[in-house]
Amino acid sequence: MLNRFMQSRLRGLVVLALILVIIPAFLSNSFQYGMVTQIAILAATVVGLNLLVGFAGQISLGHAGFFGLGAYFTGIATGTYGWPSVPALLVGAIMVGIIAWVVGRPILRLKGHYLSMATLAVGFIIAIILNNERALTGGPDGMPVPAFEVFGWELSSFGRYSLLGLEIEGFEAWYIFASVILLVAVWFALNLIESPIGRALRSVHGSEVAASVVGVNTAKYKSLVFVISAIYASLMGSLYAHFLGFITPAVASFEFSILFITMVVLGGMGSTFGVILGAAVLTLLPQVLADFQELETVMFGLILMLTMIFMPKGLLPTLTAIVSKRMRKKAGGEA
C-alpha cells in the first residue's frame, strides 16, 4: 500500500517532467519560451505558497512582499554591488526567511480573515518601502537587473550556449533552467508533504487542537511553513528578476499577492500539480484575452468568477474527479 502510494507520488513528478520536455515542440519563438519560463518560475512560487495555504490552511494575502524582497535583494546585490548571482540569491532567501520568521511568530497566532489582514499589511508595508526607497530600489520606475551568472558564465535570454554538443539559444537555456528549478521545487514540496513534518502541517489545517494534543507544536510548524513558503517566494523572485532583467515595485504589490493566491485557489488548494496549472492559466489568460481589447477586464473577471463558482475545489481536483468518475463508470460497465 505504502509502495503504491509512493509510486503515485513520483508519477506526478514524472508526468510533469514529460510535459516540460514536450512543451518546446509547441513553441515557435522566444516570446513563447519567455512565457513558459515565467510560468515555471511563478508556478514554483505558488507551489511554495500552496504549502502554506493549501496544506497548512493559513491564508496569505501578502506573499508578493516576499517575492518582491527576493527580487529586489538580487537586483540590488548583483546590480548595484556587483555580487555574483548565487550568493545574492541565497543570502536574499536567508534574509527573507528571517524576516518571515520574525513577522510570522506574532501574526500566525491570528486566525482566518485576521491572518489575511495581517499578511496583507505586511505585504503592503514591504511594497511601500520598495516604492519609497528610491536611492536603493530606483523607486516606482524600477531598476534593471543583470543577467544570471555562475562563475563568470552568464545565463541571458539573449545569449547562445552549447549544451552537450547542442547549440541552444539563451531563451531555451532559461526554459530548461526554469523547468529544472520547477521540478526540484515540486520534488521538495512533495517530499515535505508526505513526511512527519508534512503531516504536522496538514493537521494544523485539519484540526489544530487534534494536532496539539498529539504533541505537534502548531505555532512552530506554522512558522516553519510560513518561512519555507517565503523562502520559495524569495528564491523565485530572485530568478524572476534575473529573467526579466528589469523590476518595478509591482512585483511586491497587493495585486501580485492576489494573483498568487488566485493561482493557488483556481488551480486547486492542496494540489501541488493543480497550482502549477493555476499559474499557467492565469499567466496565459491575459495574453489570450489581449484580443478582446477593452473587454479584457470583463472577460477576466467573468472567467475567474465562473470557474470558482462551478469548480470551487479548483481546476485540477475537479477535472481529476470528473475523469476518475468516468473511468469508474466505464470499469463498472465492463464488469
Binding site: 505504502l2 512527519p196 484540526s207 487534534a210 494534543v213 498529539v214 505537534v216
Partner: protein, 252 residues
C-alpha cells in the same frame, strides 16, 4: 508515591460564570478514572483544563508531580498525556491512516534536510510508523479503513480512529471524552473491551461518559461533578450509594 494526575483547587470562569469551581482529585497510575455528571456540569471544561487547552482561572494541575501551568498542550503530550474529543477532531484533509500516523509525531524525529531529500532514514521511519499505525487501527477495530480517506469513514469508526491516534502517541495517560456517545449497544460493548485492553497495557485512562453501565463497569474510581463542583468522589460502589449523587441523578 505521587499521583500521575493531580488536580488542586481548579477553577475556570467564563465571563463570571464558573464552569469549574474548586475541583480537586488525584488519579493514580494504571487506574481507569471516570468523570460523570449531568450536561453542563463542566466535565469537558475540566478535560480542556487538564490537557492545557484552557488556562485555569485558579488552581493547578500536576502531571507526574510537575505543574502544568506554563505548558502548552503539545508539551503535555510530550510528557505522556493524550486525549480524544467529544466533538471529534479528525483531520478530514488526510487519509485515515495518516491521522493515526500523526499520533506518531513525537516518536518521529526528522530534520528538514532529511525530509526535503527524503533520505533513506526517513523512509525507514515512515515505513515503521505506517506499520505501527495500521496495527493500531486493527487494534481499535477500524482495520478495514487502512487505505481509506478519513472523510469516507463512518461515525463509529472515526471515534475509534481518534483513539488509535491517541494511542499512537504512546501515552501514559489517555483522556477519552464521551467515547460512547452516538454508539449503539454492540459498538459500546466493543468500546468497553477496548478500554479494558488499553488499561491492561498499563495506560491510565480518564473517561468522561454518560453511559452509566459502561462507566460503572470499568472504572476504578469516579468523580461526580454538578454545576462545576465536585459532588462526590470514590469507587463505583461508594458512588452508587452516595446520597448526594442519588439525589442529583434521581431527584434532580
Amino acid at each position: 508515591m505521587t499521583a500521575l494526575v493531580e488536580v488542586k483547587g481548579l477553577d475556570k470562569a467564563f465571563g463570571g460564570v464558573h464552569a469549574v469551581e474548586g475541583v480537586s482529585f488525584a488519579v493514580e497510575a494504571g487506574q481507569v478514572y471516570s468523570v460523570i455528571g449531568p450536561n453542563g456540569a463542566g466535565k469537558t471544561t475540566l478535560f480542556n483544563l487538564i490537557t492545557g487547552l484552557y488556562i485555569p482561572t485558579k488552581g493547578e494541575v500536576r502531571l507526574n508531580g510537575e505543574s502544568t501551568a506554563k505548558l502548552e498542550p503539545n508539551q503535555l503530550a510530550e510528557r505522556g498525556m493524550c486525549r480524544t474529543f467529544q466533538q471529534m477532531q479528525i483531520c478530514m484533509n488526510m487519509t485515515a491512516i495518516e491521522n493515526v500516523m500523526l499520533g506518531r509525531h513525537l516518536q518521529l524525529k526528522s530534520s528538514l534536510f532529511t525530509t526535503l531529500f527524503r533520505l533513506p532514514a526517513l523512509r525507514r521511519d515512515e515505513k515503521t510508523a505506517y506499520k505501527r499505525a495500521a496495527d493500531l487501527m486493527e487494534y481499535v477495530g477500524c482495520g478495514e479503513y487502512v487505505g481509506a480517506e478519513a472523510s469516507a469513514m463512518s461515525y463509529g469508526a472515526l471515534k475509534r480512529l481518534e483513539i488509535a491516534r491517541a494511542l499512537a502517541a504512546e501515552p501514559k495517560v489517555i483522556l477519552l471524552d464521551e467515547p460512547a456517545a452516538g454508539l449503539n449497544a454492540t459498538e459500546t460493548a466493543a468500546l468497553e473491551d477496548l478500554i479494558r485492553k488499553i488499561a491492561d497495557q498499563g495506560i491510565t485512562v480518564m473517561l468522561v461518559e454518560h453511559d452509566m453501565k459502561l462507566v460503572m463497569g470499568i472504572s476504578d474510581r469516579l468523580l461526580v461533578l454538578n454545576y462545576g463542583r465536585v459532588l462526590a468522589e470514590g469507587t463505583p460502589e461508594e458512588i452508587r450509594q452516595n446520597p448526594d449523587v442519588i439525589a442529583a441523578y434521581l431527584g434532580g
